[in-house]
């Protein structure tokens, strides 16, 4: 597991480095194109021309990225959660969800369970955010809570926790900001090009004023700058999409491994894709962070090269082809079976590194069937670590109706509703605007005192 994370980190750093180079290159090109002047610099006999315009551009490009990245990093999960309109909840607000999150963080060996947020939206989706496993959060929509059963919810939460465990969240945030910065810079560049008259300002100055050789070099550099400015955003996006897709597969694998029940996540993905819902106010930058891209939901025939998530049908097919196994190796095998090109996309080293994890998990759970293991594995580990996690069999599966009620009550509690239970079996839920001191039960006519605003 740690090998996998380390490898992930290495690959992330490599990609980040590449993207940073791209960003600086774009900055340089733009700076050079806008201010092509260079200072002659005498360096021990040889005269170097220092393109200070390009260097300035590089500095600006780095600053544009750095400021945004710093803001996202220092705020940890809060900035993204606020951007998504998510609200933090406590354990008593939704014990079922908290149980699942705790179980899955133990299974993923996170240092502590992430914070839990709810998005007040009836569409089905979830995402994770945070700087590292110690500063992480998981957000699910209210719709997800009411539509998914426990196994499915467990699968989705495990997928998100896998993102946290794989250190995906920080990387995706940083890389996303970098793509955004590159796009921003090139757009500014093209606007500047449009309004300035680079290469056409011969009216008031002699073309021959600069030395001939330098002029040709400048022209070549200008062309390079232009090409780079056109290609860089595309390249950055492709890079970003490629590693985002890769991470989705890995998180799916985690979802299957932590639950030991791939079917949970598979059916959850199906339910989610069947209910695209209408999550409003999802920014393009945030879209790759959700378990199912909210902006791509609904469209089917999108180019796989430019999508942030692998097609759901394929993700489901891989999960269902795991043949009762619940390890990373099983997932890799299933991936290879479903998608011949899969082997090329999981490096051999990653496969080898996942094997010890599977073995260890299998040792602990060998005698149990996959499904009971899904329930028992986290519980067993929980009792060892002293976290009180009630057994799944002790709490019967909530009916869809009950789930919908629980979710509705959760949202109402978040919005400061007051609850009165009448002896006749009626439950009255009073909105905070209800100002009267007393309320009469519609059924038995009993007069209840309205509790004070919480």
């Amino acid at each position: 597991m740690f090998e996998l994370i380390r490898q992930n980190k290495r690959r992330s750093l490599l990609l980040m480095g590449f993207m940073l180079l791209l960003l600086l290159g774009v900055g340089f090109a733009i700076g050079f194109a806008v201010v092509p002047a260079s200072e002659p610099l005498d360096m021990g006999g040889a005269t170097l021309y220092l393109p200070w315009g390009g260097l300035l551009g590089m500095g600006v490009a780095f600053l544009v990225w750095g400021v945004q990245a710093l803001a996202a990093y220092s705020s940890g999960d809060r900035l993204l959660m606020a951007a998504a309109g998510a609200k933090k909840i406590q354990k008593q607000d939704h014990p079922r969800l908290f149980n699942v999150v705790e179980e899955m963080s133990i299974a993923a060996q996170l240092p502590k369970p992430p914070k839990v947020y709810i998005i007040e939206d009836m569409s089905l989706n979830a995402f994770a955010a945070g700087r590292d496993p110690n500063h992480a959060a998981v957000a699910v929509t209210a719709g997800l809570l009411s539509k998914l059963n426990r196994d499915q919810l467990q699968g989705v939460v495990a997928h998100e926790i896998a993102h946290i465990a794989n250190r995906d969240v920080l990387f995706m945030t940083m890389a996303g900001i970098m793509v955004g910065s590159i796009i921003m810079l090139t757009e500014v560049f093209f606007r500047v090009m449009w309004y300035s008259n680079i290469g056409a300002s011969r009216r008031y100055r002699s073309r021959r004023s600069s030395r001939d050789g330098e002029g040709a070099a400048k022209l070549i550099l200008l062309v390079v700058a232009l090409i780079l400015a056109i290609v860089a955003p595309l390249l950055a996006q492709l890079l970003y999409f490629a590693c985002s897709r890769q991470r989705e597969y890995l998180a799916d694998a985690g979802g299957a491994v932590y639950t030991r029940y791939p079917e949970g996540l598979a059916s959850a993905l199906e339910t989610i894709s069947g209910n695209p819902g209408d999550k409003k106010s999802v920014s393009k930058a945030m879209a790759p962070m959700y378990i199912v891209n909210p902006l791509e939901a609904g469209q089917r025939a999108i180019s796989s090269l430019t999508s942030t998530h692998p097609p759901i049908e394929e993700r489901v097919r891989i999960l269902r082809s795991m043949g009762g196994g619940g390890s990373f190796a099983d997932y890799a095998a299933a991936w290879n079976k479903v998608d011949g090109a899969g082997a090329a996309r999981i490096p051999a080293s990653a496969l080898a590194q996942t094997a010890p994890v599977a073995a260890r998990a299998a040792n602990a759970q060998e005698p149990m069937a996959a499904i009971t293991a899904a329930a028992a594995a986290p519980v067993g580990q929980a009792s060892k670590t002293g976290v009180p996690t009630p057994s799944r069999r002790a709490t019967p599966e909530a009916t869809p109706r009950q789930r919908q009620r629980d979710t509705g009550d959760l949202l109402r509690r978040m919005n400061k509703f007051r609850f009165i239970n009448c002896d006749c079996g009626i439950r009255i839920k009073l909105p905070p605007e209800y100002a009267k001191p007393k309320v009469k039960c519609v059924r038995c006519g009993k007069i209840h005192e309205v509790p004070r605003q919480p």
Binding site: G425, R427, K429
Partner: protein, 141 residues
């Protein structure tokens, strides 16, 4: 949520797992999208019955805003002996029934056990509600 008729804050009533919003003042009932299906369970209340009435009957009722999105709600008229005019949100947020309308719909639109249970349920929740049909029943025993 405010009552679309009298703008009072509405109470939420839950009984046996079914939930509806009730206006304390006018006893109108709001059912969230999907709540009618929950209320009816597996019972086949055909879409046909819910829209079988003559739309002309809806003309005289004034239009109301959806309590969730404020869009002007549409009117639908049920079939049956005493057609009921009720409101629906164009964005599918839910349905609005004036006092007694919901019970009347369920009593007319169904004859089988499941819906009878629902009617029982509504009678439980609103023991004082009186619909045109229940009035008739009490007049002609």
């Amino acid at each position: 949520m405010e009552c679309p008729v009298c703008k009072e804050p509405m109470l939420v009533i839950e009984y046996e797992g079914i939930e509806l919003d009730l206006c304390d003042a006018c006893h109108g009932v709001w059912l969230d999208e999907g709540e009618l299906e929950l209320l009816l369970g597996d019972h086949e209340m055909t879409h046909g019955f819910l829209t079988a009435g003559n739309p002309a009957a809806a003309k005289k009722e004034e239009s109301r805003p959806c309590p969730i999105c404020d869009a002007v709600m549409g009117k639908a008229v049920t079939g049956g002996k005493t057609p009921v005019v009720y409101d629906y949100c164009p964005h599918e947020h839910g349905l609005w029934f004036d006092r007694g309308e919901l019970l009347s719909i369920l009593e007319q639109g169904s004859s089988d056990g499941a819906a009878a249970a629902v009617v029982q349920w509504l009678r439980h929740v609103f023991p004082d509600s009186s619909t045109p049909q229940t009035k008739q029943e009490t007049l002609n025993p």
